[in-house]
Symmetry: C2
Subunit: 345 residues, 2 copies
């Protein structure tokens, strides 16, 4: 029988961070696409819209008026999924009907006073201000809550309902599902190998060079071996860092600059403002923050939906929802797409 070639022969790969498998069927890119095409981008977003509740000086749903901010701006989400004072559902009466208390806060962080920019269009010092705001909101909410989830939904395709550049921060009294999985995996890897999973993983990717997208003095960006979304990436510090607030000045500067590079590459890939959901994962916080979290390594996941062009996305449906994630090209095949010439650079 033929020798195995990952770009031709389907196989499954294991995600040791989240304890999940993905089916990799690279030959499937050959099939024609006759399905849904996404609506093209609304071209013109006004720089300032007094009716947009994220703009400086605008009035929000709760009647509050935004300050005339000129950097980042953090405020409470007017329709929070988590509130600080929800009562406890009490004990469950049956093991198949388990409910537990959930408390928390949801905040919105504007990245910039202008609605017509995105992170890659912002200057490195402006992105650096976002990094600082991420670190301080983690510190602020992490004082009380064990998990502070920073995430950005970019683009209408990713359910983003406001074009103004912003992210969200949901802090919770519980460790969310994915956090629990990453905690379990990193802890067990550390106890078996005496080293953090993602430190060893970064080390291997630097040696293998098959999936690296960007490297800088302090950071790495790569398409993980177990990526599910076509152009998914993982952004990691080179040093062992457990949480955003621990980043040094030099690491923050460098993060702003590598983020600008990565997001510009994304935008150039299909010549569109690239949609994605991204978010940060770091060691748990709250009252247990002082425990030993040496098995944790800070990282950001980028999950972009596009597959073939600015309007043809990967659908995670049917088989993916009922059975297992599936991808149509290998992570190694993705890398060259990122290495093309950067326009305007």
């Amino acid at each position: 029988s033929a020798a195995f070639r990952s770009s031709e022969h389907q196989h499954i790969r294991y995600n040791p961070l989240q304890d999940e498998w993905v089916l990799v069927s690279a030959h499937r890119m050959k099939r024609p696409w006759q399905g849904q095409v996404e609506p093209p981008l609304l071209k013109t977003v006004p720089r300032h819209d007094p009716l947009n509740p994220l703009c400086p000086g605008a009035t929000r749903a709760n009647g509050e008026v935004n300050p005339h901010y000129d950097g980042t701006f953090l405020f409470d989400n007017d329709f929070p999924a988590l509130q600080p004072d929800a009562p406890d559902p009490g004990p469950s009466d049956h093991p198949l009907f388990r409910a537990e208390a959930a408390r928390g806060v949801c905040k919105v962080m504007c990245f910039h006073p202008w609605s017509d920019v995105t992170l890659p269009l912002m200057s490195v010092p402006e992105i650096r201000a976002v990094v600082d705001s991420w670190a301080s909101v983690t510190e602020e909410l992490g004082a009380q809550y064990p998990w502070v989830q920073i995430f950005e939904n970019k683009g209408a395709m990713m359910g983003c309902s406001n074009p103004h550049p912003h992210c969200q921060v949901w802090a919770s009294s519980f460790l969310p599902d994915t956090a629990q999985r990453e905690e379990r995996s990193q802890k067990s890897y550390y106890s078996q190998h005496g080293e953090p999973l993602l430190i060893e993983y970064s080390h291997q990717e630097l040696l293998r060079k098959e999936r690296l997208v960007l490297t800088s003095e302090h950071w790495l960006v790569l398409v993980p071996f177990w990526a599910v979304w076509p152009f998914q990436t993982l952004l990691l510090p080179r040093r062992h860092v457990r949480r955003l607030p621990e980043l040094t000045t030099a690491e923050r500067d460098d993060l702003a600059s590598i983020m600008k590079k990565l997001l510009t590459k994304y935008d150039n890939l299909f010549e569109t403002s690239f949609p994605y959901s991204m978010g940060w994962h770091g060691a748990p916080t709250g009252s247990e923050a002082g425990a030993n979290w040496d098995h944790w390594q800070l990282h950001a996941h980028y999950y972009p939906p596009l597959l073939r062009s600015a309007t043809v996305r990967k659908f995670m449906v049917g088989y993916e929802m009922l059975a297992q994630a599936q991808r149509d090209l290998t992570p190694e095949q993705v890398r060259p797409h990122f290495l093309c010439h950067l326009k305007g650079s």
Copy 2:
């Protein structure tokens, strides 16, 4: 502090079948929606299109000509994600880079010769023929493969690239992720309680009556306590049945009729051809089919994306991708929507 009310106070619920949590924040339905609106349905699908590769008499991508079928029609997917003969990737050289062999087949099953019908528009005998085809393809592919995943992606929103009524069948040499989780959960529940998880669960839902959508002599449909999608349902036989081929004649007749009722309810909910992904889960097959799978109960999951109307969907993005599934209304709040008058009945 206030007494707990699930429709007002956010909380988390546990999915004991798939070992996952969901954040339930019912008060969030109050927020206005300014995000992406789905394109309206393409109104007219021709009953017969000789260029549509799923139609009777049409020529497919591989040059084969479809028979002039008049019931269901099963054929090999021309762009299969799983092929029977892929070579083995061989042993992994590092625990963080694990790949394994994946072999299988992908089939497409047309439900009906006409492109302009959907399951709820078909007659009960026609749907009954689909049930029989599901049972026999499970038997046929299950002789060789440990997992036979039947799934239907309905609607462009769910990545369905062909309007002709059809489903897919992907059989694999491995137990996919979700199958593994359901196997683990059902096995451990059985060993602790001496009874299949889903049998006890059905029993409880029949007693509690808070989430039941439809009941018939042999079947139940309910919104699971741990539902993630707004109008998600679970379809279960009342009897302990491990796999589709075990269904009796009476159970098959009744399944066809309850499916027609459920899918008509879905279509009436927002007066649209309701999009969803659905699929069947039953005990593993293949060479281990003869082992003890008494902990398994056959069931179908329906995962529909719509939230507020025919054009406003729930986006599972940001927080959901990075942290945990989140829903905007409780499963109990969904039930009355299903119980409204059935148009034309």
